[in-house]
Symmetry: C2
Subunit: 185 residues, 2 copies
Amino acid sequence: MLGNLSPDVQRKVVEQMEVRPKLIAMDTMNFWMDIALEELHRTLTLVDLLIVNDEEARQLTGEYALKTAAKRIMALGPKMVIIKKGEHGALLFHEDQVFYAPALPLEEVFDPTGAGDTFAGGLMGYLSSQDELTFDHMKKAVIAGSALASFCVEKFGTQRLKELTKEALDARIKEFYTISQFDLI
Amino acid sequence: MLGNLSPDVQRKVVEQMEVRPKLIAMDTMNFWMDIALEELHRTLTLVDLLIVNDEEARQLTGEYALKTAAKRIMALGPKMVIIKKGEHGALLFHEDQVFYAPALPLEEVFDPTGAGDTFAGGLMGYLSSQDELTFDHMKKAVIAGSALASFCVEKFGTQRLKELTKEALDARIKEFYTISQFDLI
């Protein structure tokens, strides 16, 4: 998981690895698109998954429609793209497959700082507990990341995450399931 | 289904009915909140379901968080609230239950005119085909409305709806299912 650093530093990390991991994910932001777009494009050719928010996906591709933006990003290198939409959930794209992860409608967001990193942490943590990288596992990983991030925003800094139990996380994941599942008509 | 008219006209329609229907739904908009808020509040006490978009829910209640806004609206009369979020899907609230209906990530929105009315039409059409008004049926009705509205925006006016087949609608509903369903971790 390449955190949100200079694309050149991200690339050098990948190049220093003797064995390529099963999955290389990366985060980035508008700042790097503004000052290091060429380096960013170069690094994108080396990774499997890009995690960005909706504004970043639009800036990177010049496309407003997120489905089109995701296609453009996948043409730049990553096989998969996750576009985070904050209170509107997150979209996962892989080839022609799409998954729309809901966001829990919260009554209060105390402090959104760190929600994106918490999402990535929950996502990668879930994936590293799995043997395979199927689309089903990717979907669950997005839910795990979303659930973890939903705790992050409840208190300042890492406070809520430090006191979080596995039971509370599992219950939150179940909430995501309950609010989004329905039977085919 | 009380379309988006003056709240006084909506109320008079309800009062003229000799037999109360199983469900009275109503649409409204910011304009009526600006010029006829008192009448709107009076009409809200007579209906079962309010269908509004996110901005309207916020204006009506003064609450930014949609979950809180929905609670406030349910305290004004309606047992159920649907909050439409455009490209971000729709939320259905009833007591403590919440359903997050996804939106299909579209590559192009040709003309959004009529999408809200098409949503309401699909929703009410589905419900009137059912014997009961369970929360499960309400969820499916929101999906049916969302699916129908997703066709409306593909062409100008009613053009796409006029040429729509049942098969195409069923396939679209299945797409909503595919993009949003996952297994519990």
